[in-house]
């Protein structure tokens, strides 16, 4: 037992004197979790709190163009600025290049008359379907010139899609309003009253948003609840750089020859490294979670809320840490050089994180990746943490995710043992 204790003490001393290793294990993940959460949080705020600047050039002389602008304004997503109708495309593009606006919309000339014609045609068809006399569209209506939307290239595809969706709904509202007005006029030969129009078009049915949580709470998770556990797992697995490198360094150094000539099994050295680095992973988790809970609110980020089951959180962190350490050990035993351990270790963790759903949500992955995802230990670690942090679950609720982590850990340990035997290290 004293041998093991002395070895752990040695490993801790070597570790705390390795400044670069400490920065890699503690400094880098903290920066990562801060930056990623800040980015995701600001994205959320950009879409939900800040308004996107939108230039509007209304070349239409009728009322429907104005209606469209009002409908867009009502969406609440945009900060509208109208430019003179005679401004050229070049002017609009120039304004956008200076990032004055990220979007511009040009309403074409005769937009109102063409929408009206289209509405008449639709209304006529509807009336004839009801058996009433109406314009069945024998007169050919010109197709409506499209609205032109200019996007700044910095807007990502996902934003473009949501912006497009919002603009379509505004356009749909304007068209529906016109069809309704035409129908009303055709039947009753008088204008549609504003109150009725509002009643029919603007009185939306309420949508009640409820987050499904195991513990019955209905709070909506913030960016910290999503990001902090994910990047904590990433940090834990990133000990491969320090631990894998340390095993290779020891194997290649003269001290290994001495260790082999002593009456102690090398497995004691590996056991010590496992214990030392398991403590490191738990400290990483404690530090990053602590930062999420206590530091985030001071830097304007949403705070991380601890799950109700703290002992469950500890157990999940312990299992995740053990899996991360086993992975690093396996890399260290099989790598021939430190460059191999560092290079393969780092790249493989990034790949496992990517396919494990740390970077892109697992539900958004193509089906072909969903099988590969199940092979990534980081995926199961993330699922276990999400079960606690997002779904309000307890240890028993996430046990189904812990089992694969244990299986992967055992496999990695067996592989490490075989590697040690094969290389005659034990």
């Amino acid at each position: 037992m004293y041998k093991l204790w002395a070895t752990i003490l040695k490993d801790i001393r070597v570790l705390i004197r390795d400044k670069v290793g400490l920065i890699l294990m503690f400094g880098m993940p903290i920066m990562l979790v801060l930056v990623v959460t800040a980015i995701q949080n600001s994205t959320f705020e950009l879409v939900n709190k800040n308004k996107i600047p939108l230039l509007v050039c209304n070349r239409d002389t009728g009322k429907i163009g104005v209606d469209l602008i009002q409908a867009i304004d009502k969406i609440g997503m945009f900060k509208l600025e109208q430019v003179s109708s005679d401004q050229s495309e070049k002017f609009i593009i120039e304004r956008m290049r200076t990032k004055y606006a990220l979007l511009a919309i040009v309403i074409p000339v005769n937009f109102s008359s063409r929408i009206t014609a289209k509405a008449k045609k639709v209304a006529g068809k509807a009336l004839s379907t009801f058996g009433l006399e109406g314009d069945t569209g024998t007169t050919k209506t010109a197709s409506v010139d499209p609205l032109t939307i200019y996007y700044h290239p910095i807007l990502q595809e996902s934003y473009r899609h949501s912006i497009q969706g919002a603009l379509y709904s505004a356009l749909q509202l304007v068209e529906s309003k016109q069809v309704l007005r035409t129908l009303y006029f055709s039947i009753l030969e008088k204008q549609l009253p504003d109150t009725l129009e509002n009643e029919m078009l603007n009185n939306k049915f309420d949508i009640n948003e409820i987050t499904i949580a195991i513990d019955g709470t209905r709070s909506v998770p913030n960016a910290s609840q999503h990001n902090v556990p994910a990047w904590t797992i990433f940090a834990m697995f990133f000990v491969v750089i320090s631990l894998g490198g340390s095993i290779v360094r020891e194997k290649l150094s003269g001290s290994f020859i001495r260790l082999k000539s002593l009456p102690t099994n090398y497995y004691v050295a590996l056991l010590s490294k496992q214990i030392t680095y398991l403590i490191v992973t738990l400290l990483q988790a404690a530090l990053i979670f602590g930062i999420g809970v206590w530091l985030f609110p001071y830097v304007g980020l949403p705070p991380l809320y601890f799950p109700a089951d703290i002992s469950g959180l500890f157990f999940v962190s312990l299992i995740c840490g053990l899996c991360a350490v086993s992975y690093a050990m396996c890399i260290g035993v099989f790598a021939q050089t430190q460059e191999q351990a560092n290079g393969f270790g780092a790249v493989s963790i990034v790949i496992l994180a990517a396919i494990g759903g740390l970077m892109v949500p697992s539900f958004a992955m193509p089906d072909s990746f969903k099988t590969a995802m199940k092979l990534s230990p980081l995926h199961w670690c993330l699922e276990a943490y999400y079960g606690l942090f997002l779904e309000g679950g307890k240890l028993k609720d996430v046990f189904i995710n812990i089992i694969p982590i244990i299986i992967i850990t055992v496999l990695l340990q067996v592989l490490t043992f075989l590697g040690l035997k094969m290389k005659k290290l034990i």
């Binding site: 001393r13 001495r258 000539s261």
Partner: protein
């Protein structure tokens, strides 16, 4: 009546080949080293000195024959036999991030000593080898000579009866070499068997009383140094070495 000196090392009919090589590197090799001897193993590069030392210390496994350390078969009692000897490799075999005291604490534990024994031996050794003032400083900041002293201290912390020394003085100044050789002689006086290998033949001459010359996996001669010098009419070990192993340059 002749009193039989117990053997520190007894190698009988040793057969060894490197993995993937069909030719035996050692075949039917026999060597006996008496307890308390100051024994030197010499030979040109690639002759087999380091391989033989690795076999004797259990770092390499052999296929045929036997190696006994103080009467214990190394193959059968690998772990307990390792307690009987100390090994001082040519490379600095310690953790440069640690201090001499911390290195001794770790390697002492791995050598099977208790915490109390390690404490006592650390004070003794650091005093004896002139490292007491730097006991808590990181070894990485030490000179080459001081690092050699740390290397030596680790190898002897458990008071081994047999000490394997692979180039223990390489890269040190004359004063440090003198101090190391004196310390080794002191250990031998106290009963330790020294099994030494080096290319510093003048140094070896002052330390070893018995030598073996090895070449191409075979022991060419094995006897008292003085006896061999007079038999081959040589004034020093270097002359004897060149006479028996030829002057030809070996590109090994």
């Amino acid at each position: 009546m002749t009193v039989m000196t117990p053997l520190a090392i007894n190698i009988e009919n040793l057969g060894f080949s490197y993995p993937g090589q069909q030719d035996m590197f050692f075949s039917n090799l026999n060597l006996k080293i008496a307890a308390g001897e100051r024994f030197g193993l010499f030979g040109p590069n690639g002759a087999g000195k380091t391989t033989l030392m690795k076999l004797m210390t259990g770092l390499l496994a052999f296929h045929e024959g036997s190696i006994q350390i103080s009467g214990n078969e190394i193959k059968k009692q690998n772990r307990s036999v390792k307690k009987l000897f100390g090994f001082i490799p040519q490379d600095f075999s310690f953790y440069e991030e640690l201090s001499p005291a911390e290195n001794l604490e770790f390697f002492g534990a791995w050598s099977g000593l208790t915490k109390q024994e390690i404490k006592k031996r650390t004070i003794e050794l650091l005093d004896m080898l002139g490292l007491a003032d730097v006991r808590n400083k990181q070894v990485r900041k030490f000179s080459s000579g001081m690092k050699r002293m740390v290397n030596l201290a680790i190898g002897v912390i458990h008071r081994p009866g047999i000490l394997f020394l692979d180039e223990p003085t390489v890269g040190v100044d004359v004063q440090t070499r003198f101090a190391i050789i004196n310390y080794l002689k002191q250990l031998n006086k106290n009963g330790a068997t020294l099994i030494y290998t080096s290319h510093q033949l003048s140094e070896a001459e002052g330390l070893c009383e018995k030598i073996a010359l090895i070449d191409e996996g075979k022991i060419i001669v094995h006897d008292d140094l003085d006896k061999l010098l007079s038999e081959y009419r040589q004034e020093g070990l270097e002359g004897l070495f060149l006479k028996l192993t030829s002057k030809e340059y070996r590109n090994v």
